[in-house]
């Protein structure tokens, strides 16, 4: 499955990536699985393991409060720290 992943705030800074298209391994089917896999992608992705509990996810621009959320048919995934608008 090919998805677009967007990174925001310090996740963007740490990974050095704003947006990328990636081919997800077949075993990645949930948000938690995605975070596990991202954390294996090298030093700049260790932040996903270190700050796992802070990481927020939106799938196709819908916020998913639960890391158990399904990624089936996802086209655009966004990863970001807790929001601080307003």
């Amino acid at each position: 499955m090919t998805v677009t992943i967007n990174y925001f705030a310090w996740l963007r800074e740490r990974t050095g990536i704003s947006t990328e298209d990636v081919e997800l391994p077949e075993q990645v089917s949930t948000v938690a699985g995605l975070i596990d896999w991202l954390a294996t992608r090298g030093e700049e992705f260790e932040v996903f393991d270190q700050h796992r509990e802070l990481i927020q996810v939106a799938v196709d621009q819908q916020h998913q409060p639960d890391h158990g959320a399904d990624l089936e048919n996802a086209r655009e995934i966004a990863l970001f720290p807790p929001m601080t608008g307003g």
């Binding site: 705030a9 939106a58 916020h63 720290p81 929001m83 601080t84 608008g85 307003g86």
Partner: protein
Amino acid sequence: MTVIPEIRIQAEDFNLDSEVSKLTKNSNDIGAVVTFSGLCRDEKGALAALELEHYPGMAEAEIRKIAKEAIDRFNLTGMIAIHRYGKILPGENIVLVIAASPHRHAAFDGANFLMDFLKTNAPFWKKEHLKNGKEGKWVDARDSDMKAASRWEDIL
């Protein structure tokens, strides 16, 4: 009558009077207008600017969702929300929320509700730029903001 909120994500500043008059002109059923302006604070004098990053598309959609909920809950007759992005200097505006209603408590509650959920649900992030040239930190989310949003579950 369906009330459609106006939501804008923009770099530019806004003008209170012209936004309020969009809601009140040609209307005789508005008795109360509440505006909330959120400004960039710098009590210690160390801040050069805040930089606001956002998730285009989702930012507008999330605020629109909250605004529609506010309109339904409080029977508002109009609602506008404007959130700025980019570099914002101390003393400058960051966000504007306007709620209009026949009655005052609904207008207060509508603006208050939208701000509480905007803080926790709208995909914006703030980074500090310091006057001394050093790299500032990303502003942390606050527990008090989570609590403020959760208080609305007990109401109505």
